[in-house]
Symmetry: C2
Subunit: 131 residues, 2 copies
DNA sequence: AATTATTTGTTATATTATAACATTATGTAA
DNA sequence: TTACATAATGTTATAATATAACAAATAATT
C-alpha cells in the first residue's frame, strides 16, 4: 500500500483552518476550533499537522510552537524556511527572498556536514509596532 | 536595586552543568541532575535558563527544546545564533561563520521590518552519520 | 534601620506532545 | 472477491515542557 498523496479528511480540515487564519495557530487552539467538524483528540490534530508540515503545506514556527500556511504556492517540502516575527504584536510573515534562500541552501562550512534543510527566524519590530 | 550582573547560585549550578555537557540538555533532565545541589522545582531551572539565555551564556535550540552553552566566549547576548543539527545522531554544533552572521545581521527586505535578532538552524547529516 | 526591588522557593496547573493499542479503511495480489 | 498487508484513524491515557500566583528571603539604596 502506498503512502497517500491526497489529503485525508482530517488533514484537509486542519489545513483549511490554518489557511484561513492570518496568524500562526497553536495545536490546541486548532483542536478547539475543529471539534465541531468531528476532530476530537489532540493526536488527530498533531498527526494532521505532522503530515502537512512534511508535504510543505504548512510550516512550524519553532520559537512559538505554532503553525502557518505556506505562502509559497509551489512549496512542496519544508526544507528551506525563513520567517520574520514581530516581538511586539507577534505577527509572523514568511520571508521569501531568493538571494537569501540561495545563500542558505548552498551554505557549507568546514564542519563537513551536508545540510539539506534549514529554518531561520528573524525577530524584531514590524512597521506598525516601530512607530 | 539593580538587576544582577553576576550569576546567582542557581544560575551558576545550571550553567556549570550545561557547560560540562557535550550535547543539548532538556530542562527536566537538568532538573533531575541538579537536585542533589538543592534545586527542587522546574521553575528554578526555567528561571535560570531564561536568564542565561538572556545574557548569552547559553542558547536554546528551538526545534529540540534543549539548551547548549555558548561556544563563543565573547558572546554577550543571544541575538545572532546559528546551529547545525544532525538529524541522525542529534549532535548540535554552533555555527560560527563571520560571513554568515554579517549577512544575516544586515539582512533587510522590503517588509520594512527592523530585525534585531535571528536564529538559524541547519539540519542534515554530520560527517560520521553520512558514512 | 527602613525602604524598595529583586530573586527565590513552593505548590499548583497550564500547555504541548506522544505512547499504546484497537479499529477501520485501502491498496495489492492470489 | 477474498485474503493479506499496510496505512490511516479513533481513543484513552500519560509524558514532557512551561508558566501562574504568591509568600518568603535576599540584597542594594537611602
Amino acid at each position: 500500500m502506498q503512502k497517500q498523496e491526497h489529503l485525508t479528511k482530517n488533514q484537509q480540515i486542519v489545513l483549511d483552518f490554518i489557511e484561513k487564519s492570518s496568524e500562526p495557530l497553536k495545536a490546541y487552539s486548532i483542536l478547539f476550533s475543529v471539534k465541531k467538524q468531528g476532530i476530537k483528540a489532540p493526536l488527530q490534530v498533531y498527526r494532521a499537522l505532522d503530515r502537512l508540515v512534511e508535504i510543505g503545506k504548512i510550516h512550524k514556527i519553532e520559537s512559538r510552537n505554532a503553525f502557518v500556511a505556506c505562502k509559497n504556492s509551489n512549496c512542496q517540502v519544508s526544507k528551506a524556511t525563513a520567517f520574520s516575527i514581530c516581538e511586539s504584536c507577534e505577527d509572523v510573515t514568511e520571508v521569501s527572498n531568493l538571494k537569501l534562500s540561495k545563500y542558505l541552501s548552498n551554505f557549507a562550512d568546514k564542519s563537513g556536514m551536508k545540510y539539506n534543510k534549514y529554518n531561520l527566524e528573524f525577530f524584531g519590530l514590524c512597521k506598525k509596532c516601530k512607530k
